[in-house]
Symmetry: C2
Subunit: 199 residues, 2 copies
Amino acid sequence: MKFSPLVDELIHALKGLPGVGPKSAQRMAFQLLERERKGGLALADALQQAMSDVGHCHTCRTFTEEHQCAICASPKRNLAGQICVVETPADVLAIESGGHFNGRYFVLLGHLSPLDGVGPDELGLTLLEQQLASDDINELILATNPTVEGDATANYIADIARQHEVKISRIAHGVPVGGELEYVDSTTLALSFNGRLPL
Amino acid sequence: MKFSPLVDELIHALKGLPGVGPKSAQRMAFQLLERERKGGLALADALQQAMSDVGHCHTCRTFTEEHQCAICASPKRNLAGQICVVETPADVLAIESGGHFNGRYFVLLGHLSPLDGVGPDELGLTLLEQQLASDDINELILATNPTVEGDATANYIADIARQHEVKISRIAHGVPVGGELEYVDSTTLALSFNGRLPL
Ligand SMILES: [Zn+2]
Ligand SMILES: [Zn+2]
């Protein structure tokens, strides 16, 4: 024990956050105790609720506490007949901040990685194929990261999609090779949407 | 709304932590949701309990959920008859990690700062004076930070202590001027204890 059991436990739990080391955890704990007790309680509530109630959208797999996320539930977003496939919910946010895409998304929550046990099932590809088989969808835009794994995943999905009546494209210009989609500015992302190439 | 209400709220609450910007808050939220739900719930519990139950030691003012902290409650630490005055609970930890001080502490929870409304009352100096007036205490070691405010605070407390039968000293060598005590290594801190000068 370094301080008191409750303070030690708080510091230990804060260290569990990504990017938070022992010293930052201590600073966070003391700042919360000294001047942010209300903020600390609000964070406790937010964590409790989100960890317990947030699941995945039954259509696109992004995080939501509802059956469907706001985008999938919007009739306007379904009109376009486009599905954009991304790796993470953060990628959805990056593309949405550009405001140039009006279709909806499919979130893989990862990429193919056989060594880590991530195959087509883990990425929900059966669910995606059901959607491609429906008449509503006429274009599939593959926006996985331009990495080896992201490219392999895009090609795998393109092979599935070719069995259905959909245009298939891969976002192209602007996203730096080896980079991560969520860090690209919205203009570059717009370019890469406009310059998408048929696969 | 960017994601769903619960996810947005979690990101917003995480941004309240010191040193956490919007991007880190988002990363933290997604990592917790994706692979650390148990850790997130444990953090919620730890926050809830610490924010509600942790108060201040009635003797030295450091953080504790008990009436007295472990150091003040230890008869061994009271035998020495020494009180070391520091600004923050983190300073206590820094000195304790050296293991060379066997007395107890008094934690000001700040320093004199009239412009911010921090005067002798806010630093608990009446409580400290009551302890100096008792027969048990024979030495007061002033270990406030070697900054303008820390020095002024040490001098102010020394003036009070001179009205009582106690040796008064200020830690001296090793702590870099303008630096913060909690970042000094334990050897340097040991030196500064050994080289303390009477005031
Ligand atoms: Zn959705
Ligand atoms: Zn104490």
